[in-house]
Structure formats: C-alpha cells, structure tokens
Amino acid sequence: MAKQFFTDDELVERLWDYENVKQVMAKHFYCYAGDLRRQELTDLWVKLPQNRRFASLGVNTGFYTGMDDISNYYVVQLNELRYEQLKPYCDADPAIGLNKFNLGRGILNNNAAYSPLLYIAEDGKTARYMCYVQGVRAVGNPDGTADCRFMFGLVYADLLKEKGEWKIWHLIITNDHAIPAGKDYAEYPMWKDEFGTTGQNGPLLGHVDPNNSYTRDELGTPTVERTVYDPFFGWQYLYQDMPHPYYSFNPNYSYGPEGCMGMPYYERERRDY
C-alpha cells in the first residue's frame, strides 16, 4: 500500500462526497426533464447570499450570472416559451385551457447523462463535474407534426459544500449536435466558418444554425456574452475543460464566467501570470 494522504475518516467522507455529487447532478437532470426548474434552483443550487451572487449558468453563447438572471432565463423565459408552445393547441381545441396545468403539452426535453467524471478538491470544499448528454427533444404541434431531435452535448458543473450539503454553484449546459429524427444528418445544412467558407446547402448564419430551434429560441441573451462552446470546432479544448485533480477552487479555472471555458489554450496560459 502507498502512504496515505488522507485519514480513514477523511477517505470515507470523500467516498460519500463522490456519490452525493453524482446524486445532486442526477436530480438536476430529473428536474430538467420535467421542467421543474424552480424546484431545481430552490433545492439543488447554492443558498448562501455570497454564493448566490456568484452563481452562474453557462450556455454556448455566454453566462447568466447571479441567481436573479439565472432564474429569469432558466425559469421565467422557459415558462413564457412553454405558453407560446401551448397556444396552438388551445387555438385548435378550445377545451384546452391556456393555463399552467397544460404547460408542456407536446413537449419532450430530456437530457440523459452518461460518463460522469468528477473530482472532489483536496480541501473537500468543492467538486468539479462533467458528463456527456445524449438527449431527446420534441416540440409537438396540434396537427400532429413535431420537431424531434436527438440532442448531444457536455454538461459541466462546479459544486460547493454548503453546511454539509453539496449544491450546484456554476453549471454549463452546452449544445453540440441537434440531429433531426427521421432525416439523414448528411442532408442537414452545414455551418460556415469565420472566413465565410460554406459547405453544402449554404448560406447560413454563422455557427448558429437557423433550423435548430434549440439555439434559436432557448439560448436567450446571457449576462456575459462570449463563446463558451462552438460546435463548429467540436471538442477541441475538451482536455483543458474537463475536470482534473485539484487542491482548491480557483475562479480562473472554474466553470463560471471567470473561468477558461471556450478559450484557446494559449489564452488560458496568460491567466497564470
């Protein structure tokens, strides 16, 4: 046996922390699938004021920062979208009321998480988490048509131990490929690169795919706008982004807006000086 770094009691606590972090993130995916986002923010996210102020939620195009902005985007704007999506059903059938009890009609939004990779900091106060999502998304219409996609992407999180409980502090939900069901992906329009070079079926709007209702409707306008993930380049910086063993939380390497997500590796090196 190698020399022990932690006491037996600390090792047991760290084993338990590992399982609890996975459990918290599993509950996030449960809430995400059921549009139970208010419940998620209340139960799973940080509670202490000093942590709520620096909480963040990242999407491809930037970060929502502070619980007010997160809640506005993650809960309120989604609620408005769900009312818009319900209205055609109400117009088609007056028996269906435009009210909260019918929200989510024809909607499927499910992120299935695979391969969680996580490390508990040596100081035991924070954890870094990443997993791969193979999800599905369907937005139905009263005429029986539906926009159905297989959704792929990576989810990252910093978690914080508040009064002995693990809480989500920084969360990033990236959107990678959104492959339409029932259609050959090769026939789907290509993005164009920054030099204006397009593949087949151009012209298109940069890397934001106009046919992808996820990116069009749901990324919103983040508090801090910058590229967090660009699917055009794929997982180029995955190795730098993924969790690695660490001693203590460092905002420069967090999954919050101060962190390096989406930055080329040579820009990350500058942050050390």
Binding site: D8, L117, Y132, D184, Y185, M190, G199, F232, F233, G234
Partner: protein, 269 residues
C-alpha cells in the same frame, strides 16, 4: 472471505477510481488524446493488452505505438485536409478539433479482488461519433476504401455532416500498481455502428448477406497486433445468440487466468 475495515475501504476507493479511469478514457479517447491516456493511466509492462474484434495488442510498446504514433498522425493528416477546405480549422489542435467519437458509458459492473490488488469492470457503451464538418460525401466510415494514387483535395461544398451511433461492450482489468490504479487489459467488442437516421444496421446487413452470401463485416486488421482477429463478430440478424464474448466479473480473490479479460497475460511484468 472476511475483509477488514481498511481492506474494504481500499476496495471501495478502488471502485470509484476504476469508474473514474474508465470515464477518463472515454473522454480523452474521444479527442484522440491518446498519450494522455496511455502515459497516465496504463500499466506499462509486457502483459498490458488491448483487444478489439480485429485482434489483440500485447505489451505496452505495441499498444502505445498503435494508439499514439499512428493514430495521432492520421488525425493530423485529416485535420490539415479539413483546414484546406475550411481555413479556420488551420492552426487548431490537430488531435481534437472537429470530430468526436465518444464511448459514452452506461452503468459499470465492477468487482474488486479480495486481495485488493486488482479490479474488473464490464460496461456497455452507447457511443456516438460526430462531426460538424464531417467528411467529403461518399468518404468516411461506411464509405468505400480510398483507391490507389494521390487523392484529389476536397472542397468545402463536398463536405457533409457526420453523425453515427457506435455501440460496444467493454471488458477491462485494473491493477493496483505502485500506489495507483492502472489499466492492464482492455477488450473492446464492437456491436454495431450506423449513421443516424439513414441506415438500419440490422436490415441493411441482412440485405447485404442476401445479395452476397460471402459478405462479411470483417475488414481485416488495421494495425500491428500479436494475436490477430477476428476475436468477435459484430451484430448479425442471423446470429444464434447474443454475442457478448465476455461475462460480467464475478466475486474473486485474485487476477488470474480464471478471472481476467486477457487470458495468459496476468503476471505484472
């Protein structure tokens, strides 16, 4: 066998470390960061083995050569080809830019040896391979092999998106070596792969067999191996039973030829 608290704690930590190593492998492999896998988490001895349906590499040197030197050169060539068609790819990380092939792992079956020196892991991967830029129409996985002579450079408009499912079974053995959990054996059993929503992996294969009774999914061995394949077959409509190759690990005392995913390679040399 009754284990002490210390021994049980050691094995419990081992389970989490093995889970972490499997997942770490899935991610670094997805971006062709092979050196970061084999340098960091593998046992570097003669009995390290890496198997696939095409054969088994034996010894760290053979595994390392195939995965790093050969694979990384291939990735660099493909990236420069993409860069000629899409200039913003030039200067990107040639290993990781663009294409992704991630062996996403479902729940793992892990057993720890009673002697605390090894752990065994079986898993299903519901994997995907994807790329925003993909490959020129008609090329890439599933396409015909390249013909002889120099290849015409592809233009941007030739490229199409690429997205495919790729399912496999894994059997892996780990050892506790010099205070760390290390991979010693990996055996991959491919099940099927198909493009999203343009193929039916079962029916298409059946029709190929109907058209040509000698048709085979066997594509030969793409690299140097010590034990040449085929070591397993991909899914086939006509197969008599599910083709798992390996069983899930059972409770066991020590890594040996009765409890291994690589018979004959269980000494730590």
């Amino acid at each position: 066998m009754s284990l002490s608290f210390k021994e049980r704690l050691h094995n419990a930590i081992g389970v989490q470390e093995i889970e972490r190593k499997k997942v770490y492998h899935a991610y670094v492999h997805s971006v062709a960061y092979e050196r970061e896998e084999f340098d960091k988490i593998w046992f570097k001895g003669q009995n390290a083995t890496w198997g696939h349906n095409f054969g088994r590499m034996v010894g760290f040197r053979q595994i390392y050569h195939n995965h790093t030197i050969d694979e990384e050169s291939r990735a660099a060539v493909e990236t420069f080809e993409l860069g000629e068609a899409f200039p913003s790819y030039m200067g990107g990380d040639p290993r990781s830019i663009g294409a992704t092939g991630v062996h996403a792992l479902s729940e793992l079956c892990i057993e720890m040896a009673n002697d605390g020196n090894s752990g065994r892991c079986w898993a299903i991967t519901a994997g995907v391979m994807m790329s925003a830029l993909g490959h020129p129409q008609g090329e890439g996985p599933g396409g015909p092999p390249p013909g002889p002579g120099p290849k015409e450079p592809a233009k941007a408009e030739d490229y199409v998106h690429f997205g495919a499912a790729s399912w496999e079974y894994y059997g892996a053995d780990f050892i506790y070596h010099q205070g760390e959990w290390k991979y010693i054996h990996e055996h991959v059993v491919p099940v099927f792969s198909q493009l999203f929503d343009s193929e039916n992996f079962a029916r298409d294969l059946y029709e190929k067999h109907e058209a040509d009774p000698n048709y085979s999914t066997w594509r030969g061995c793409p690299c140097q191996v010590t034990d040449p394949g085929p070591l397993s077959d991909r899914y086939d409509v006509n197969q008599p039973v599910q083709h798992l190759i390996w069983e899930t690990p059972k409770p066991y005392d020590t890594l040996d030829d009765e409890n291994t995913y690589s018979i004959g390679h269980n000494e730590w040399i």
